[in-house]
Amino acid sequence: MFKFEKLVFGDLGWGDEFLFATLMTITVSILSMGLGLCLAIVTVWAKLITNKITRIVANFYTTVVRGVPELLVIYLIFFGGNTVVMSIAKLFGYNGYIELNALTIGTIAIAFISATYSSEVLRAAYLAINKGQIEAAKALGLNKFQIFFKVMGPQILRHALPGIGNVWQITLKDTSLISVTGLVEIMRQTRIASNVEHSPLTFLVTAALLYLFLTTFSGKFFKVLELNFSKGYN
């Protein structure tokens, strides 16, 4: 059943391995969330400017990635990514073999998925801002950058934060899927440990508790952030 002695730190147990695996999960989550947000900003921009082609491309991207299982997207990028990267390298005259490591591929794959969710959140937050605000800023003589960074940005952030918190939770849980690429995060470590020790229950329960810990505490963190950002409104 549940073997506590297998979870000690050091050579006898898997405690330190699981600590590193947890750090890896956090790293991948933060990296892919950040990359996903950047991608989401580009997607929102493509959806909101008055250009039909960019809008169609952006809509196609969000519809397809949200309509297809995450696992399939990860498989596609994991197995197909190298081919794409190599053919791009060929265009620049490099003919050697390139292999992306699991961390890069996993981060890109999860970012690709999380960007579709973030883009919806950001779009809604952008549309929630009153047009009068932009007009008022223009009347004050602010230029485009000032309007974006001083007027729009902070308000978008405030409107988007609850949604971004949700996307973060989804992203954190989705990182468990990139265990199929061989990256040693919590889920992969769990499979390795339970195969060695023949005690899957111990390590799976540990993994579940670790994920629960991560989601709960990051949820609390986002709550605090939300409170902080809506200070002027309560």
Partner: protein, 237 residues
Amino acid sequence: MQNFLDYFSQSLLFRNFIEVLMGLDNTLLLLIISLPIGFILSLVFALGRVSKNKILSKPIAGYIFVIRGTPLLVQIYLIYFGLGSIEFIRESFLWILLKEPFWCGVLALTINTVAYGSEIFRGGIQSVTKGQIESGLSLGFNKFMLLRKIILPIALRKVLPSYGNELILMVKATSLVSLTTYMEMTGIARKIMAKTFAPVEAFVAAGILYLFLNFLMVQFVKYLEWKYNPHLRVEQN
């Protein structure tokens, strides 16, 4: 045109498509069993969650918290590998079901969707205004009638869009059951990939099918929304 059709029917993508289509029934089987059970249990759990009885609502809140805080993959592995390692379960009658990856998948998907679904339904039930309940009481409805005639119809149609989202998430979640050696569409796509070394064709074929499934699901939810929200229909002319 004939040339093109010949070329297309012999292309790898098309052949993969046919092969992946053979796994469609396995994917649908997972959904057909876990979605209705999940729906009913979600309703029951949501009612338990909003009840004033703490002995009832607290454990349900804990269950929802745990399931929503852990990835589905962990839940599937826990049921498939974890339960199988307990001596007591291996010797009980449950083992007949739990040794099959299919039933493990159904169990995990149901447990997962009930947690999310009951949170959605709870939102709907709590959004029923007090005046509507009072008007029911003034008509002399008892508790069951109140639930059956007022609370549930109002709550259910209100949460249809978000429950539709959950249904789409469930369609996508069935792909994870392939990691327990169950051969549904993703599993077959994975097998094709290992056989042909052409990952893009294999996974794009499966992706198209999943998109199609989700498209049908969206249409179904849209139809339900149209049917049960007659007051929101836009009249023609």
